[in-house]
Amino acid sequence: MTPPDSKDSLAPALADWRVAPPRNPQFRSAVWARLEGARGTPTWSSYVRGHATLVAGALALAVVLGAVTGREQARARVEAARGQLAASYVEGLDARNMRMP
């Protein structure tokens, strides 16, 4: 037979009970790695999820590299064309160093 006051003493103890597990930042990727390890060769999407930081960094680097290179190359070509046209424009109006055809 249960003593009548045992339920009363358990309730506050349960109410005060808090579980505070330590935070593990690698938990998600570790779970994916274990899942994929058990499954065999991972799919690319799960590979990306498992290496999210690395893949995102590589993509960001690739986009920045492409953007900077594209911008510089376009500007260099435009500048070359601009310089060529400006020089030729002035030459076309300068009678010095000109030979009659």
């Binding site: 060769t41 690319w44 690739a62 986009v63 594209g70 376009a74 424009y89 076309g92």
Partner: protein
């Protein structure tokens, strides 16, 4: 290994796409077309944002100056052929430079505010120090 290669491939595609987008955004097709076609007047129009009226007025100035430039050319060539004194040739060349500078200033005056100063800053430093052959014109060979 396959996934790593696939990731590299995706990165390369992203790099190429970014390259293409930023190349197009920073390109000036009118400028490169003008250079390809050797059309300095098209360059002038695009570079200094000339409207139709300004462009027509500047084109007329250029056409008129072409006659003056031809006369200067003939005088300089004639003086060189007859081995004229260096002082005479220098005087003729100075006349040419002065006329050319005055022409550039007249052209600049017809341009939109701000563009005229930029035009002069572009053309005046290029007045000396190059080879030139043929009749005066504003078409160039790429």
């Amino acid at each position: 290994m396959k996934n790593l290669l696939l990731t590299l491939l995706v990165a390369i595609v992203a790099c190429a796409a970014a390259f293409g987008v930023f190349y197009v955004l920073n390109d000036e097709p009118a400028m490169r077309r003008a250079a390809r076609e050797g059309d300095a007047m098209a360059w002038l129009r695009a570079e200094f944002r000339l409207n139709d009226t300004q462009f027509a007025a500047i084109k007329k100035l250029h056409d008129d100056y072409g006659v003056v430039c031809g006369e200067h050319c003939a005088a300089i060539v004639g003086a060189r052929k007859r081995s004229a004194p260096a002082a005479e040739i220098a005087a003729l060349e100075k006349t040419c430079v002065d006329a050319m500078t005055a022409h550039f200033r007249r052209v600049a005056a017809l341009m939109p505010p701000g563009e005229g100063a930029r035009y002069l800053a572009t053309v005046l430093p290029r007045v000396a120090g190059y080879e030139h052959t043929g009749a005066p014109n504003v078409r160039v060979t790429p």
